[in-house]
Amino acid sequence: MLNINKHSSNDTKIQIETKDLSLYYGQDKVIKNISFNIYERMVTALIGPSGCGKSSYLRCLNRMNDFIQEARTEGEITINGSNIYDKATDVIELRRKIGMVFQKPNPFPMSIYENVAYAPRLFGVKDREKLDEIVKSSLEGAALWDEVYGKLKTPGTGLSGGQQQRLCIARAIATEPDILLMDEPTSALDPLSTLRIEELIRELKKKFTVVIVTHNMQQAARISDYTAFFLLGDLVEYNVTNKMFTSPDDRRTEDYITGRFG
């Protein structure tokens, strides 16, 4: 059993507290009683081979698994002091506070401006100046403003893959969430675009708590503060990234990160 508080120092606040969480798809238990804490304004990487439950866990955090009919959870995830699986939780409000970036860049078939303004509009921002301001600051926050400020009215789908993904990041931070979830955000991108996104993630953690699923262990090592290693639905090891990649506690972690399987 992992000691979930082992790595918390005094100056880091817990953002997401996962307690004894299990996720079932029908009869399959895809996440098995995991517990750990994700810290505020840190980058936490979730690694592990395909099908280990890391993406499923990520989707538990903003309750995107609700859309899968046979999905069922047990246990608790506490964000900002309340259990998000409580009946009283307003899922819409929860998702507003948690941005998500997907594996494949998925801008809406609308203009760049409308893509970023989408979520603020959902929550009732109508004032044009306010919207302009949000769009600008979000695009700046996603390091895309300099490339697109002259063509905000053009379709978001006309941008390059890397730009599209940064547009999706801008769209996700437009509601000023606390947490940013990223599901293999660079797996569909070329190395240069990947590098830019990684630089961006280092910037983003100044304002947001970032949880990122990645297949790429170098990426986890480069950008994350904490790393969680998932295997077949178990959380095998959760550690400070440096420690994880230099002297892991668990044999299986070592085997995985040295490339013996996965």
């Binding site: 995107m64 859309f67 507003r96 941005g99 998500m100 997907f102 998925n106 809406f108 959902l122 509601t175």
Partner: protein, 283 residues
């Protein structure tokens, strides 16, 4: 001949047979078009299109039935869009897999197999008699709308289903409700496909005769316009000229001229739909 050669020969023959069947379809279409143009060529002119029938329909043009057909198309489109598109939306987004949607689906599928004359009788009893609209443009338009309904429902459902899950995921993850996601993302993405589907289905019903005979098509009317007046319509006009006209032999060119225009109209509408579909696939 050894086995290998025999197999190669069979392969070649198979190819020829397939090309032959494909060609036969093409020749039927060109045959029809050539025959219609040959028989009606002498009647075709701009005056023919823009003049109403005269002298007990033995001379003059086809303006009033042409206008009537357009009116029928417009009325049926307006009637079919809300019901058809929303039903498609229901099937795609809300229905799920229960027993009730299954029955509904079966109903829609069966509806598309109902002969058009049955729709005509249904329209007669519902719109003309029971609801008391009388035999008029409105009743006939609604009857055509019923006929189009299964096509539009299916086209809309497929259009909604074709909207990538990525868009929905992104919208939900940003905190949108289901309705917001449908209105702001799913609907705009599906709209052009739906419009194409509607155009294609309208092209198919514009030439229908049976549904409008009892519900609103006039043998002859000098008036064009009113929603609650009878209208002349091209398909019915052709049927009358060919079977119940005052001088059937003499009016042959007029009949085939009208057929040529109807054919051009229906093929024209369908090709707009096909063109839109192709253009969308390219994008």
């Amino acid at each position: 001949m050894n086995r290998t050669n025999w197999r190669k020969l069979k392969d070649k023959y198979m190819y020829l047979i397939l090309v032959g069947t494909a060609l036969s379809i093409l020749s039927i279409l060109t045959g029809i078009i050539c025959f219609v143009l040959y028989s009606g060529w002498s009647a075709l002119s701009w005056d023919f299109i823009f003049e109403p029938p005269r002298d007990n329909m033995t001379s003059g043009g086809i303006w009033s039935p042409l206008v009537g057909t357009f009116q029928l198309i417009v009325v049926s489109i307006i009637a079919v869009i809300p019901v058809g598109v929303l039903t498609g939306l229901y099937f795609s987004e809300y229905a799920g897999k229960g027993l009730f949607p299954k029955i509904l689906r079966l109903a829609v599928r069966s509806l598309s197999g109902v002969p058009s004359v049955v729709f005509g009788l249904f329209g007669l009893s519902l719109f003309v008699i029971f609801l008391g609209f009388g035999s008029c443009l409105f009743s006939a338009g609604l009857t055509l709308a019923c006929l189009t309904l299964p096509l539009v429902v299916t086209a809309s459902e497929q259009a909604f289903r074709a909207v990538p899950k990525d868009y929905r995921d992104a919208s939900y993850a940003l905190g949108a409700t289901k309705l917001q996601t449908l209105v702001k993302v799913v609907f705009p993405s599906a709209a052009s496909t739906i419009i194409t589907g509607i155009i294609l289905s309208i092209g198919r019903v514009a030439g229908e005769t049976a549904p409008i005979i009892f519900t609103g098509a006039a043998f002859y009317t000098s008036k064009t316009g009113g929603l609650f007046n009878e209208v002349m319509a091209l398909p019915y006009h052709i049927y009358i000229l060919a079977t119940a006209g005052t001088n059937i032999e003499q009016t042959r060119p007029i009949q085939y001229g009208a057929v040529a225009v109807l054919l051009a109209l229906v093929l024209g509408i369908s090709s707009v739909g096909v063109w839109m579909r192709v253009r969308m696939k390219r994008r």
